[in-house]
Amino acid sequence: MAEAVVGFDPLSTASTSQRRRALYLIYGLLTLFALCYLLPLAVIVLNSFRDMSEISRAGLIGLPHSFSLDHWGQAWSRHCINGACKGIAPFFRNSLKMAIPATLISTALGAINGYVLAQWRFRGSETIFAFITLGVFLPGQIALLPWAFVLGTLGLTNTIAGLVLVHCIQGLSFTTLFCRNYYVSIPDTLIKAARIDGAGFWRIFRRIVLPLSPPILIVTVIWQFTGIWNEFLFGVVFSSGSGQPVTAALIALTAGAVSVRQYNVESAAVLIGALPPLLIYLFGGRFFMRGLTQGAIK
């Protein structure tokens, strides 16, 4: 039994064959898992290029024998969803119009709140922090009916602005939590020195705290954007028809009844819908990581 596994035992007095077996086991298992993780992604990417004739014959899993970029164009601007045949583009734009403002606003507010709660503690500020953080754990279902009422009263039912409002308020809890936990690590002696120097609340924020913030702001923006873009429940309840975000549109697209399922076009559409957060992940992966390990330490 290979006991001396690679990492811990530099002396590695296990024989070379034992070491090699252990290495094979480890890398073999990792590769197996990696393939399982990559399978779905590979499937939709490859299928977005294949012809339907091939898919109908061979199923979704398999190496492509045909190649066409047509389906992408079809998915983007021509495919029929919810009655309209303008492709996934309008819904994609809806999601952009919803996610970008909501992300920016909730992050900005979260940063300021975090700054207040971390560096300007006053009586009751810890309770306030606990209260705001509670929002992270609340299930969306609790807020459905009240939001419906609020949006209705404000005249924002079925609008993108309504969704932006919802995501802002909901996101506030999360962004405040994140930013506050980060700002606590700024030594308060820095703030004290600035106050002695005569700086006030906003000046300290602008000149001292904000320049130190890029790490947490990037992480927060990435997590918020991903969360809001991928969100479904509120998207589907508080919008309809052509005003839906891309997640809701994808359900309508892939679950709608058609005579012949066009898997290639649907794959392309699904990919388009998944692309923004995926690209952010590809290029900003370590910020994801940082967010995870930081956020979990609460």
Binding site: E3, V5, V6, G7, F8, I26, L29, L30, F33, A34, Y37, L41, V43, A58, G59, L60, I61, G62, N113, L117, W120, S125, I128, F131, I132, G135, F137, L138, P139, Q141, I142, A143, L144, L145, P146, I169, Q170, L172, S173, T176, F201, N230, E231, F232, V237, T247, L250, I251, T254, Y263, V270, G273, A274, P277, Y281, F288, M289, L292, T293, A296
Partner: protein, 312 residues
Amino acid sequence: MSSLPRAAPAAALPREPLRDRIARLMPQIVIAPSLLASFVYVFLFCAWTLYLSVSDSTLLPDFSFGGVKHYLALWQNRRWSIAYTNLFLFGSFYVTGALAVGLTLAILIDQRVRGEAVWRSIMLYPLAISFVVTGTVWRWLFSPTTGIQAFVRGLGWSDFAFDWILDRNMAIYTVVITGVWQASGFAMVLLLAGLRSVEPDLIKAAQIDGASMRRIYWKIVLPTIRPIIVAVVVILLQFAIKTFDLVVAQTGGGPGLATNVPAIYVYDLMFQRGQIAEGAAAAIMILAALAAVLVPYSIWSSVRARREAGHG
């Protein structure tokens, strides 16, 4: 006897100019809107939904008091019992599965493998994808005509059957698989951080003491990261209780009611069947389930933190 000169009686202090007062109270002023919004969102919305659940509302809110009849109706409802049984099944397998896979991967990667960043990126990317996308793609993969069954049959095993997603008894397990697929990378990252936080001297001491690697992991490493394991379990349980998107995308709750979960039932009641009071009651039940997980956990972890801070 004081030899200090007595101060003249204090004149009334000049009133603090408004500008200075605002500057002094700026933190409170700034946090107030968010506090208000959170108050509304956390407290008011909950109270609202709670009130609706005991009101007479059906299609539209009706604020006359109706008593707990909706809760009773809910718990006697067959669909609800199926939904929470499914949640129970799904939850236990999902949490155990994601934890097991996550822990395995974390231990594998902890063996100082090369290209760690690459492995991690591959395991973690599902987090960047919406449950809608995941559910849809896995639906296609589980579908006998287009997915795994078709593929394996195409390879030659023409008797191979894998139609769980159409099977009333097995459909819930397809959702489990997808859920584990999506969440295990997350579990892995947290557990890996935990493994790495184990003091290396502990391992060295155990090696000198003569323990095998297996024994070191089992008796030293895992017990030491128990708090992190618990935290991961709690987070996964929350994901499970809130599950909605995934099921909608993958099975729509079916076949029949086979994969119906409470979150879907809430949506159903509120927006499809015009029974918002009962829907509200179901939403409150979901909240209760979450509280049942979170409250003991936060008590446990603060007690533990206080106990360990009390000693050197």
